[in-house]
Chain length 196, copies 2
DNA sequence: CGATAATACGGAGAACCTCTCCGCTTGGCT
DNA sequence: AGCCAAGCGGAGAGGTTCTCCGTATTATCG
């Protein structure tokens, strides 16, 4: 635990005044609720209204929609990182399977928030991209070292595949199908590429 | 060739007046261009303007954005159906691979139009869903009968996987990665599920 | 070849959304 | 207490979706 969120430390660039910090938090709460209810295209006006602040305040804290989405996602995704740590206790192969299923469940549950962020280039500098990539890398490299995953697959590949499944089989679709598709993919990931 | 688009036949439900038909065609042309340039979220106003008609006319012909997208996609997708027919001359395994790669290229090229339609439930009644499913089924069942594809995979599964890859590795991303991911998936599709 | 009725057009306009700008308030510091 | 930078909020410009209804056009029939 390193207090990633930074509740105690004073990051540079973050608001210094108490009200600014409070508003930031309110906005995040409102955004989390609203995105959950109405999907990633929810009205930013509405979010500001729910948070009890003006639109200007929202845009000062989060200049773009994606910045807000990313911030909302950041702490949800932090749980996936923790899960990756926990799974280090199990066998590499099981850990890989379990974590990817957890990731899939997450990606499917948030109305495409994860997808709408990750479908665009996995640019560095975005908190949540970094977190996910780190977690995926952790689980994957362990599996690769144990020979439970082919070495020519990257963490990015895995993320893309899972996000793709989550996106194409949206939250309304059959959850069983999504899980089945992931299992199919996992089979390929386990297969050695040498066996042509 | 069965004149699927129905240029000659008079479908019920389609406009009877000459100007209506002409406007419908103009709208489709304008929509095709505009979606290609600006993606699936392009302004419908702009499309109407380009077509030289009022917004009301656009909405009468295509009540929703998706209806317009679906209509635009329909004839593009018809080419994929033709491709499936052509590939019937090659080996079942090759046909499967080649067609899925063609589908992937298509899905990646149209600025997410295919994705934005297919990511939502593959509801019947939508022209383009039907067409794609038919083409995929054609290629897949032949491969399955030849033992070149596991029997527990459905055409829907394949469509979802390809669309997912196209969505998560957007048109800006590395094309090589998308192809590689598809190859990975294809490996799993070829593998017999009995070999647990 | 008109006349008539059904059909389709078009654009004004209501409601909404994103995003900016700037006068005013408030919190932190001395 | 008093100053002043940091932060707030909401009016408003510009764009979008979608509707409604008076007007124009087309097919059809006498």
């Amino acid at each position: 635990m390193q207090t990633v969120g930074g509740r105690t430390s004073v990051e540079p660039g973050h608001p210094r005044r108490a009200d600014a910090l409070r508003n930031r938090e309110r906005l995040l709460v409102a955004a989390r609720e609203t995105f959950a209810e109405e999907g990633p295209d929810a009205s930013l006006n509405e979010i500001a209204r729910r948070a009890g602040v003006g639109p200007g305040t929202l845009y000062r804290h989060f200049p773009t929609r994606r910045a807000l989405q990313s911030a909302v996602l950041a702490d949800r995704i932090d749980r996936l990182r923790e899960r990756a740590d926990e799974l280090a206790a199990t066998s590499p192969a099981e850990a890989l399977t379990a974590w990817l299923h957890a990731f899939l469940a997450h990606a499917r549950s948030d109305h495409g928030l994860t997808g709408s962020l990750l479908s665009e280039p996995l640019e560095p500098g975005f908190d949540c991209h970094e977190i996910i990539r780190k977690a995926a890398t952790l689980v994957l490299t362990r599996a690769q070292q144990a020979g439970a995953a082919r070495p020519d697959v990257s963490a990015d590949d895995l993320i893309r595949l899972v996000v793709g499944i989550a996106l194409s089989a949206g939250p309304d679709a059959d959850p069983g199908q999504a899980a089945r598709l992931l299992d199919l993919v996992l089979e390929a990931v386990r297969t050695s590429p040498a066996l042509e």
